[in-house]
Amino acid sequence: MNSESYAYIGRKQPQIDGLAKATGEAKFTTDLVLPRMLIGKLLGSPYPHARVRNVDASRALALKGVKAVVTGKDVPGKKYGVFVSRMDETGLTVKARFVGDPVAAVAAVDEETAMEALGLISVDYEILPAVFDPEEAMKEGAPVIHDEYERNIVADTHYDFGDVEAGFRECDHIREDNFFSQTVSHATLEPRGVLADCDVAGKLTLWTSTQAPFQVRRDIIRALDIPASKLRVIKAHVGGGFGGKADTYPMQVAATLLAMKTGRPLKIIATREEEINVRRRAPMSIFTKTGVKKDGAIMAQYLKILADSGAYSSTSILMMYNSGLTCMIPYRIPNFKYDGYQIYTNKMVTGAMRGHGANQPRFAVESQLDMIAEDIGMDPADLRLRNASQKGDTTVSGLHFVSCELSRSIEESTRNVGWKEKRRQKGTNRGIGIACGGFVCGARISGHTASGTNIHVHEDGGVTVITGSADIGQGSNSVMAQFVAEELGIPLSDISVIAADTETTPIDNGTFSSRVTFYGGNATLLAAREVKQMMAGIAATLLKSNAEDIVFRDKLVFVRDDPSRSIPFGKLAKATEGMGHGRLIIGQGQWAPTNTQFPDKKTKWGNVSGSYSFATQIAEVEVDTETGQVKVISITIGDDCGQVINPLSVQGQADGSVAMGIGHALLEQLLFGSNGQLMNPSLLDFKIPTAMECPPTTLLEVGTPDPIGPYGAKEIGEGLLITTVPAICNAIYNAVGVRITELPITPEKILKALDEKKRREKP
């Protein structure tokens, strides 16, 4: 069946909860209120590294309206974290490892009282030497941030595929360059929060802003040593995540503890300052060495990356794995070596952020490819075309591409923008640049990552979809509904979705690694097909036909060759329930790809994702050589995300990625003071792009249906962002001939580079 014949797949669908969001009806965690609800606040350490000797909360507890104070001593101290091998958080700590690390929490009748109480808690700290720079932190003798990690190395990941030295020997040209990608904030518009409730039987319920309620449950039951059956975690409406809400945060642990202690509901909502201080993108120093033949064929590549972990591990090992892995996706690289290190420092924590570990090396490699293209006198688009991965390829690291339209994406995007002509334009300050990339559809490097969906058909033909997949704003509830609508031939308005509740929905790892449409979508399809099969059997009996000849479309169920023999979907639902001894129309689906392996423990060889997305991005910029300002004029994307399920949300992901990429390339940077404290934790000082800076994006869909993705769909949520930054960098070079290797590209850096260039040119 091609997409023309679909009723819902590939068609623009507004989000099913769009109106609730547009009218203010959608309830985010901050909007939730329970009777007798208390307000909680966290007390963060003023020191970057300090042992808590003692906490005296007597004055706080004496304040009218204060109901409880808890400290690091009140948590059992069982560590939790994203990876079993890297569990290092306790929620509230007895040893502060960054400025703001929560050491105590208070419950009070209102926010003002809670704030006042914080000021009355006196903490006796033993100040420890601190270290802020990853390079310093990995030296012998540097302060140890977590006892178990020598030289503060939390992740070191190494690949060595093919024979890199031999590969370099075959090259006609080799470049070695250094790059630095800065640290930025997720800056979700919604600051994170949690509402915890404890009933008389001791059962706890959490409503929270999270991408992964099942992970939150897993971590909190560990941290507080309570049985899994005693904790229910429900995802409220989430105001954006981008990776920042993928792991459990201290506030969630503290709120649970305070609710247990007070026996009252308790809510904690982060201020923007607190929000920014929870997670950020890891800054990385990247050394890249790439060698090519005269014709541009890449023969060997080596990357060495040093990433700052901040005070805790978060996703460290996956991030460092990704940084290497994603270098293998867009191009055929016969010999590849990678050394990735992530280092603890006494600064706030870095973690997953859209593109997770791929963005930083992509920026480096794509910048360097343009430098190589210039060195060998080749068009940068041709260089990429020369090396582009192809369908059916297995990389030296074991990744296998069951679908891949990267070449087509390069050809179509360059054609669309008039690449050859524009590259040739001289004497203007306009330029055009290209970058390619690819991403996983859910990388699995350990543990279980299956997704599940249950479907109930009601007697009037209404359908409830119950899925573990967490909609954090990207619209996955709507996509799941679309799959069901297509299978059962009913409109989205007849479908409601219940999602991401540890008690009522199937288990799901969460929304990250661009896995939701791929995994959750396939699970939903299986559930829908089970329902369909049951109903088709009944329809065949009623319509005197065969189940294989029954079609579901436009709320009707009919015989393919004789549509006049039909029954309305609602009637069929009723009939199905009433047949024989009566039955329930329930479908169940669970799914994980079967063509993947865990990466080999030693070599890291293995296909970690069922499929991979591919994209080319072309940026056109204008540089003001007087002020150093860069204006992004347009972004054109050739994208292979397989079959597009919802063009509205696919375009939305593209637009949003581009905006975030512009921020990363040109505007954003978190700054730290001499104590490792965050210097710009506000949206006034940490500027993200506004409606004034974001150009229109042209999205060219070049993909073909993927054999594994649901209806042929692949990811689009993360893979696009990783190419925006280098495309802009390359466009700037094309415009004014300066190459900025340290992000963000501020006007000062442009002016300085222009100045140096001028001096170089006329000595």
Binding site: L19, G24, A659, I688, C694
Partner: protein, 154 residues
């Protein structure tokens, strides 16, 4: 000491006793139950708290509640008339201008204020009117399209 505040919110005359330092955003959300307006920053940087006061957009996180004594406040909830969403709300939904929706109440109110003042705004005017409403999800394109779809050529 609590003070009495009388105001009209979404066509309803209300009065409340409030501490004088309470912001309009706090009073709307916590005292009156209008949780549509959101706090994204509390410092006037994000626009998520935008409501209309006598038809003009204001940042309710920076407005003391007592400043709107006797005035008319419209929140995103108040745009729904007889169960029907406002054309601006509908356009946001239909054009895909909403992803997570946290910025939406603020952006919708800024868009509403713009269209009341200028029924045929240009793309540039729309961008300018929405420049104070940060959105981290949509890249603004679909918001601009949604508002543009309501522009009525004179």
């Amino acid at each position: 000491m609590k003070r009495r505040l009388e105001l009209t919110v979404n066509d309803e005359c209300l009065d409340v006793e409030i501490e004088p330092h309470r912001t309009l955003l706090e009073v709307l959300r916590e005292e009156l139950g209008f949780t549509g307006a959101k706090e994204g920053c509390g410092l006037g940087a994000c626009g998520a708290c935008t409501v209309l006061v006598d038809g003009a957009p204001v940042l309710s996180c920076l407005t003391l509640a007592l400043e709107v004594q006797g005035k008319t406040v419209t929140t995103v909830e108040g745009l729904v008339k007889n169960g029907q969403p406002d054309p601006v709300q509908k356009a946001f939904v239909d054009h895909g201008a909403i992803q997570c929706g946290f910025c939406t109440p603020g952006s919708v109110m800024s868009a509403k204020a713009l269209l009341e003042k200028n029924s045929n705004p240009s793309g540039q005017e729309i961008r300018e009117a929405l420049a104070g409403n940060l959105c981290r999800c949509t890249g603004y394109q679909k918001i601009i399209e949604a508002v543009g779809s309501l522009a009525k050529p004179r």
